[in-house]
């Protein structure tokens, strides 16, 4: 299905070729790749910062950098990785690239707002990174808890707030766009329950973004008043209340975890069926689990605050609510396992990363349920156990899926395949390095090593050094990846339009796609996961609507 380039669609005033990636382009595919490449730049910056942290922690005394620098580095690492890497990439990059295809549209609902949302990211990133060199960066961690954030050097903290406000604004604009696109821009004849799962994941994520990000923005405004105008909202010395900050902060920042993992759930739901040649198991339950996670995700925030003097009823409520989230999440995991079960698995790089995601995330999920229990949480609060848990979720979970997605959609982006051998090497190094780096941190935390401190008890040295070796492996693992994505863009094997024989709509056009996504009408894909099912069965099932447990995997 080779499609000629539709020159008649292209606007002559828009930059062409590679230049458009540096322009205020309104094309969702260009914006998606802008998000992706910008995100990867910040990933390597954040990775270098993590390298500084692990180098410092290779020995028990503070010898590699000064303590203030260590604080700045850990603050920047957290902020860069969350707000400039994971959220923009897993939402902005893949969301912008894929959602219009999935709903059968030419572009997002608000293309100009989309471009504005992307172009808020580079200035925010430059502000944040630049603050380290010019004024000294913020030192209070990515949580910016007062009174720490009020008493550490003010200038860096204010720059941090401005930067996060910009990124939050970008995220909200993106969320508005996704909600409008998924709900209102579907191709005629395409029903909600026929959408690929990533659409549902992005709808749920965007609802969380729109409801919770503004609360963080308001909170940071109040915090900036405390710093600049010396009000006392969160300053106990002036009659303020630090716990209110924590509540408002986690009202955003717990849903933020779902803003980071729900899209990853969606992406993995696209990748697994294609490479297992089986329909996605339990489509309907997948949709309702996403919606359940959205609702529950908004009412679990105080499990981050069990040691902040929370009253017993609050502890009880938030423990129960948090434990409940394991149910919809577990449903999704069993569905993925059932999708793989008996499938004709192609264990290529995309699939390896996806399967490793299942392993890593289950481990992070189990420690998450453990952390929801008050007695255990009080024991390990603010220790390396939390650091280990969190990285199993966001790195072992989301970042593995981002890599899987790059291997999976690279042929769509460029028209060329990535090298499989290099991909498998990348996977092996990443998987070993990741587990070596973060698994020991659970033991460290259980034995009482506090997080965010540059020095530690010498008895923790060995495990910390193992962790640092793991970090080094992760750094090395990015070399074959970088070489692969750069060289394959020019010399990779030509992919053809649909190298995976996929049924989802983005593959039913040329690779890379034309400016208007399809020449002519968008295809009506009512069975995006109809693998291994013959055509007659499909149409019968579509007519009777009783195929929940059968081949087509959907009602």
């Amino acid at each position: 299905m080779t499609v000629a380039s539709p020159n008649d669609f292209q606007e002559s005033l828009q930059p062409q070729g590679w230049l458009r990636y540096f322009s205020f382009s309104l094309d969702h595919k260009v914006i998606g790749l802008q998000y992706l490449v910008t995100g990867f730049l910040f990933y390597f910056i954040g990775g270098a910062l993590a390298g500084v942290i692990r180098a410092e922690l290779a020995s028990p005394i503070s010898d590699f950098v000064s303590r203030e620098t260590y604080n700045e580095v850990l603050t920047l690492h957290g902020t860069v990785m969350i707000f400039l890497w994971i959220v923009p990439v897993v939402n902005g990059a893949f969301g912008n690239y894929l959602i219009p295809f999935y709903v059968g549209a030419r572009d997002m609902a608000f293309p100009r707002l989309n471009a504005v949302a992307f172009w808020m990211i580079p200035p925010a990133g430059i502000l944040l990174i630049g603050s380290y060199f010019i004024t000294g960066a913020a030192q209070s961690g990515w949580t910016a808890y007062p009174p720490l954030s009020i008493t550490t050097p003010a200038l860096g903290q204010v720059v941090w707030i401005v930067s996060v406000l910009l990124l939050g604004g970008s995220s909200i604009f993106g969320g508005i766009n996704f909600i409008a696109t998924v709900l209102k821009l579907r191709r005629p004849g395409l029903k909600l329950m026929q959408l690929p799962m990533y659409c549902w994941a992005m709808l749920g994520t965007s609802i969380l973004v729109v409801l919770s990000t503004p609360v963080l923005a308001g909170t940071l405004l109040l915090l900036s008043f405390d710093i600049v105008a010396h009000t006392g909202f969160f300053n106990p010395a002036l009659g303020g209340n630090v716990v209110v900050y924590q509540h408002l902060f986690w009202f955003y920042s717990h849903p933020a975890v779902y803003i980071m993992v729900l899209p990853a759930f969606g992406l993995v739901s696209e990748i697994l069926p294609i490479h297992a040649r089986k329909p996605l198991f339990g489509y309907t339950t997948m949709v309702y689990s996403i919606l359940a996670i959205v609702v529950l995700g908004l009412v679990v925030w105080a499990h981050h605050m069990f040691t902040s003097g929370t009253p017993p009823w609050m502890r009880l409520f938030f423990t129960i609510a948090t434990s409940f989230i394991a149910v919809p999440t577990g449903i999704k995991f069993f569905n993925w396992l059932a999708t793989l079960w008996g499938g004709k698995l192609a264990l290529n790089s995309a699939m390896l990363f996806s399967c490793a995601f299942i392993v890593n995330f289950v481990f992070g999920g189990i420690t998450g349920v453990a952390l929801a229990q008050v007695p255990f949480d009080i024991h390990v609060h603010d220790t390396y156990f939390v650091v280990g848990h969190f990285h199993y979720i966001v790195y072992g979970g989301t970042v593995f899926v981002i890599f899987a997605s790059v291997y999976h959609w690279y042929p769509k982006f460029t028209g060329r395949m990535l090298n499989e051998d290099l991909g498998r090497l990348h996977f092996l190094l990443t998987f070993i390095g990741f587990n070596l780096c973060f698994a020991p941190q659970h033991w460290l935390g259980l034995n009482g090593m506090p997080r965010r401190v540059a020095e530690y008890d010498p008895s923790f040295t060995t495990l910390n050094q193992i962790s640092s070796v793991g970090a080094l492996l992760m750094a090395v693992s990015s070399l074959p990846f970088l070489y692969n994505v750069i060289v394959s863009a020019f010399r990779g094997q030509v992919a053809g339009d649909n190298p995976w024989n996929a049924l989802t709509p983005e593959w039913l056009t040329s690779s890379p796609p034309p400016v208007e996504n399809w020449v002519g009408e968008a295809p009506l894909v009512q069975h995006p996961y109809g693998y291994g099912v013959d055509e007659d069965t499909l149409s019968v099932q579509a007519a009777t609507g009783r195929d929940l447990w059968s081949g087509a995997g959907r009602r």
Binding site: I176, L185, P188, V210, L211, A217, T219, T231, F233, G530
Partner: protein, 202 residues
Amino acid sequence: MTSLATSSSATAAEATAAEDHGGHADLRLFGLATFLVADGMTFAGFFAAYLTFRAVNPLPAGSTYELELLLPSINTMLLLVSSYTFHRSGRNLLLGRMGPCRNWLLLTAALGAAFLAGQMVEYFTLPFGLTDNLFASTFYALTGFHGLHVTLGVICILLVWVQTRNGGRVTSADPFGLEAAELYWHFVDGIWVVLYGILYLL
């Protein structure tokens, strides 16, 4: 494989919709409404913070939550009336009566400006400043953030007023600019009613 998943059969209406790629339904009001939900959540965060402060943080001796009621009550009436005048303006636009539409718009902007003036008078006559105590800070933050919204609203109304002139882009055939400003204005009014309730009456 492809034929299995796709169906190229389409009704005439679908084909027309697909040809005109920019021609999907106008989603701008939907987008604005979604944004206002987000904006409302910012206020909700502020309200939650204020109510929590009030419940658990005692004020220093001698300070009080009492505020003068007359001026803010007049201000509330001004905003409520301005919602009505904006509504009248929108009705007139849809009926194509541009003269009354523009007059009602101007009246709405004037009411908004009067509200802001009243707010200023209140600020200058209050016995406390921004940093005096937690209640004072919260009071100025909440009313200030709302006042910022009113200011933006008045500017939007004046912009719409300019665009409703003869040959402007807001017409009864394309009323989006006015409808968007009106939706925003009603939202700002609604926020004020809640704010008035918890700040002044509670």
